[in-house]
């Protein structure tokens, strides 16, 4: 079975981890660190290996692990003190355990002479023969959970009026008195389920005693007021019945006696008969469910009040008794599982619908119909509907980022152990929703960034202490929605980026000229360059040849951006901003040098008309535009994309004030605005290749392809000196 093989694979991987942990823990003990948590961790390591091995029937491994565990347990309970001698045995045992694991992996046996000696020593530690004999027993032990035949239970509603019970056909069976204590319900057991299980053993009659039930105003909703007499006809023996009450036995009064004759139950005020038969469940149950009391959370039997008309009582009780499963179906949230492919197909179709609707709008305009004509009005409505459909479909794919965030605590723990740093992970905004594809592709970059934060960011505990920080480092992972995008931040309170070192490395690797003048930001961003790795010694944690450049590229492939801010001594923050969906975009359609471009609306703050009084030249080829009280760079999009060599008169165009992820403001100069439109994103990278300054492409209403501008890339390219080409090479 493939899945089993895969799990077995995981098991062996995990064994290796446990063995490492075991060894590290034992060495720590050897160093005199007798922290109970270390002892526990060591114990747990052996324990987990044993548990997993048991699942795969690796008997030899289980047996050895068990002997080892027993000795460990003595250590844990304090029966054994971790003297150097004891620890030496333990360490050797750890090695042998490793041999057993590796032998099991290739289906081999460990030679007896390799393990016999150490087994004796371990048993000696665990004090003698008691440990030896229990080894085999516990390895093979498996608590019997009753294997029972499924017998559906039918409720005979006709018998409700007839409270007098038929005399039971005397045969072998038991008379069970079952009176739950409140603790039974508090521990999550349920009387009806237990009774139903009894019913599976044979034919039963259940009599419910409601005498103890107080009036409604005196009733404790969590109390236990009912008791039952169950008469069971069965060929099973008493132990089978007891097994059912295995979990509940201590929280109830339970007497089981052999069935002798007809029970005198006529004095019981309200009773119900549940008869288990081999028949299918009758539809009448469904009707019964509808009269269930709404408070399904409270233990059911307690919810039944004596004073209510018996008919209703019985409905409720019997429905609960026979159809415990149905209770949930009535209460559970209505969700369905849908094949992802179907959703994707729907999304593609909606994408086509959007394009089609846009085309239709173009044709209508071309036909010269008035904006108030019936066709135009209908088209407007169609557009509304299309948009709503689109939003709804996208919502289907949206998922909370929790699934990715959830994987991180373990990673952090493992890394903390590996690096000897103490780390606390704080996550925020796990409920933030984003498209499934984005989530799936977030895992690797996030893993890498957290690795970096712990390996490079956080300092060793002693360094932290010296710097007046708490020994425990903090790594924070947060997600939030901001202006139509999801922003994910990974921050640490470590030492921040060592700019001198980063710069030196970049010079050494020939990534920058040795006399290059770089600002702090620019130095920070050097770590995103391909082939950059700051670790002086390539550690096996983050220096695996995958650098931040890969992280950056994978984020960019998702239409996202990554930014870094770092403060020496206080830590670094990586901010990723990603689109909520990879399928559609609200954009402003503009003309630049006779080309049609789409600029994401989320980036645009406002539009401005450049005037001779507001546009100023600053240095060579740089223009600024005055916006209210300040000046911001005016970037000619046509020049940046090399459509033309620059415009002489910016006043002929229109400036779009855009805000980049870092919050910087710039103005993009375009020739004209065509309008605002929702466009379907078609990846350029999948079909063509990455184009600097261009995020993706789309198909417009008239069927032509338009490029979608990557505003941040254009802005950052313009900020760098030199020609646009080389600056794009640096950014991309």
């Amino acid at each position: 079975m493939d899945t089993m093989a895969a799990i077995k694979q995981t098991f062996f991987q995990e064994c290796e981890e446990q063995l490492t942990e075991l060894e590290a823990g034992l060495l720590q003990l050897d160093d005199g660190n007798h922290d109970p948590e270390v002892v526990n961790a060591v114990f747990r390591a052996v324990h987990s290996v044993k548990g997993g091995a048991g699942a795969f029937n690796l008997t030899a491994l289980v047996q050895f692990a068990h002997v080892f565990e027993s000795a460990m347990d003595c250590l844990r309970t304090g029966k054994l003190t971790p003297t150097p001698e004891v620890l030496r045995i333990m360490l050797r045992a750890a090695d042998v355990l490793g041999d057993f694991v590796r032998a099991a992996r290739v289906d081999e046996d460990v030679p007896a002479e390799r393990s016999a000696g150490i087994v004796m020593e371990l048993k000696g530690l665990a004090e003698g023969p008691a440990a030896a004999s229990s080894a085999a027993a516990s390895a093979a032990a498996a608590e019997p959970v009753a294997d029972l035949e499924f017998v559906p239970i039918m409720i005979d509603l006709a018998s409700f009026d007839d409270l007098a019970l038929d005399a039971p056909a005397a045969s072998t069976g038991f008379r069970i008195l079952f009176k739950p204590h409140p603790a039974l319900y508090a521990n999550g057991n349920e009387a009806v389920i237990l009774i139903r299980e009894v019913g599976r053993l044979g034919t039963m009659r259940v009599i419910c005693d409601t005498d103890q039930a107080p009036t409604l105003d005196q009733m404790d909703p969590e109390g236990a007021y009912l008791s039952w007499i169950i008469e069971l006809e069965t060929d099973k023996d008493e132990s089978d019945v007891r097994t059912i009450f295995d979990f509940a036995e201590w929280d109830c009064v339970l007497t089981i006696e052999p069935l002798t004759g007809a029970a005198d139950v006529s004095d019981i005020s309200a009773s119900v008969e549940i008869q288990s038969t081999g028949d299918d469940i009758q539809p009448v149950e469904v009707a019964a469910i509808e009269v269930l009391p709404p408070a399904l959370e409270t233990p059911l039997p307690a919810a039944i009040e004596k004073g209510i008309a018996p008919g209703l009582d019985l409905h409720a009780e019997s429905a609960g008794g026979a159809a415990g499963g149905k209770r949930d179906s009535a209460a559970a949230a209505p969700t369905i599982r849908v094949d992802l492919e179907r959703v994707d197909r729907l999304i593609n179709l909606v994408g086509e619908l959007v394009i089609n609707q846009a085309m239709l709008a173009v044709r209508v305009t071309e036909a010269g119909l008035a904006r108030v004509s019936a066709v135009a009005v209908g088209l407007d409505e169609l557009e509304q509907l299309t948009r709503e459909i689109q939003d709804s479909v996208m919502a289907i794919r949206a998922q909370p980022v929790r699934s990715v965030f959830q994987r991180m605590p373990r990673l952090v723990r493992e890394l903390a152990a590996q690096t000897g740093k103490s780390v606390r992970l704080v996550t925020e905004g796990e409920g933030t929703e984003v498209d499934k594809t984005v989530i799936e592709r977030l895992s690797d970059p996030l893993t890498h960034m957290i690795r970096n934060a712990i390996d490079h960011g956080l300092e060793k505990p002693e360094v932290r202490r010296k710097n007046g920080k708490s020994e425990e480092g903090l790594v924070k992972l947060s997600a939030l929605h901001r202006s139509g995008r999801i922003v994910i931040e990974v921050s640490d309170d470590g030492g921040g980026i060592n700019r001198e070192r980063v710069r030196q490395i970049a010079v050494d690797k020939g990534l920058i000229a040795s006399d290059a003048k770089l600002g702090d930001d620019e130095i920070d961003n050097l770590i995103f360059l391909p082939g950059f790795s700051t670790a002086a010694v390539v550690s096996d944690i983050s220096g695996r040849g995958v650098g931040m450049d890969v992280v950056k590229r994978s984020i960019q492939a998702l239409g996202g951006r990554i930014a870094i801010s770092s403060r020496p001594g206080l830590g670094s923050t990586f901010t990723m901003s990603l689109p909520l969906t990879l399928a559609v975009l609200d954009g402003m359609v503009v003309t630049v040098a006779d080309q049609t471009l789409v600029i994401p609306l989320t980036a645009i703050v406002e539009t401005l008309l450049p005037r001779s009084t507001t546009v100023h030249s600053y240095g060579e080829g740089t223009r600024l535009i005055g916006v209210r009280n300040g000046f911001i760079p005016l970037i000619d999009v046509g020049e940046m994309l090399q459509f033309r060599s620059g415009v002489d008169d910016p006043k002929t165009g229109i400036a779009l004030l855009v805000e980049t992820e870092g919050g910087a403001r710039n103005a993009l100069l375009v020739d004209a605005i065509q309008g605002q439109r929702q466009v379907v994103i078609k990846s350029l990278e999948t079909n063509y290749g990455h184009v600097p300054g261009i995020a993706a492409a789309t198909i417009l209403g008239d069927g032509r392809v338009a490029l979608i501008l990557d505003v941040d890339a254009v802005v950052s390219a313009s900020r760098a000196d030199g020609t646009s080409q080389s600056s794009f090479a640096l950014a991309g």
Binding site: T3, M4, A6, I7, T10, F11, Q13, E14, E37, N40, A41, F43, R44, H47, S48, K50, G51, G52, G54, A55, N57, S138, A141, A142, E143, V145, A146, D147, L148, Y185, A186, N187, G188, N189, E190, I193, E197, I244, D246, F247, W250, E297, P299, G324, G325, D328, S329, A332, A333, P334, T335, R402, Q406, P409, R410, R413, E430, G431
Partner: protein
């Protein structure tokens, strides 16, 4: 509508096995890696049954069970303890913490699903 089971276990192998066995039986499975994580996961989910290991880092199974039983909307959810230990003393401690029942490792899928059914449906 399938029932949701929350499994709390620090061993990846065990989590995978539980997921496999329970999904095969038609349950939807959510998972946590230790008691503390389990309580975090519970804050945003509504499992029908919880299966927890005892021996875990950060917060063990006893602590987790007490945490669930202490209050909140999940205090009546059945909790099955999953443990290699089969001795009475461990069971008693799990019970007094509020466990509903137990499953002894190594489990076979049939028994596991049977135990889940016994406390839930």
């Amino acid at each position: 509508m399938s029932k949701t089971i929350l499994t709390v276990d620090d061993s990846r192998t065990m989590r995978d096995m539980l997921r496999l066995a329970l999904s095969a039986a038609g349950y939807s499975v959510i998972q946590a890696e230790d008691g503390m994580h389990g309580l975090e996961v519970l804050a945003d989910s509504d499992p029908d049954v919880i299966i927890t290991d005892i021996n875990m880092p950060r917060m063990d199974g006893f602590g987790f069970i007490s945490g669930v039983r202490q209050g909140g909307r999940h205090r009546a959810v059945p909790i099955l303890v999953l443990s290699t230990e089969s001795d009475v003393e461990k069971k008693a401690r799990a019970r007094s913490a509020g466990a509903t029942g137990w499953i002894v490792k190594p489990f076979d899928p049939v028994k596991l699903v049977d135990a889940v059914r016994r406390v839930s449906a």
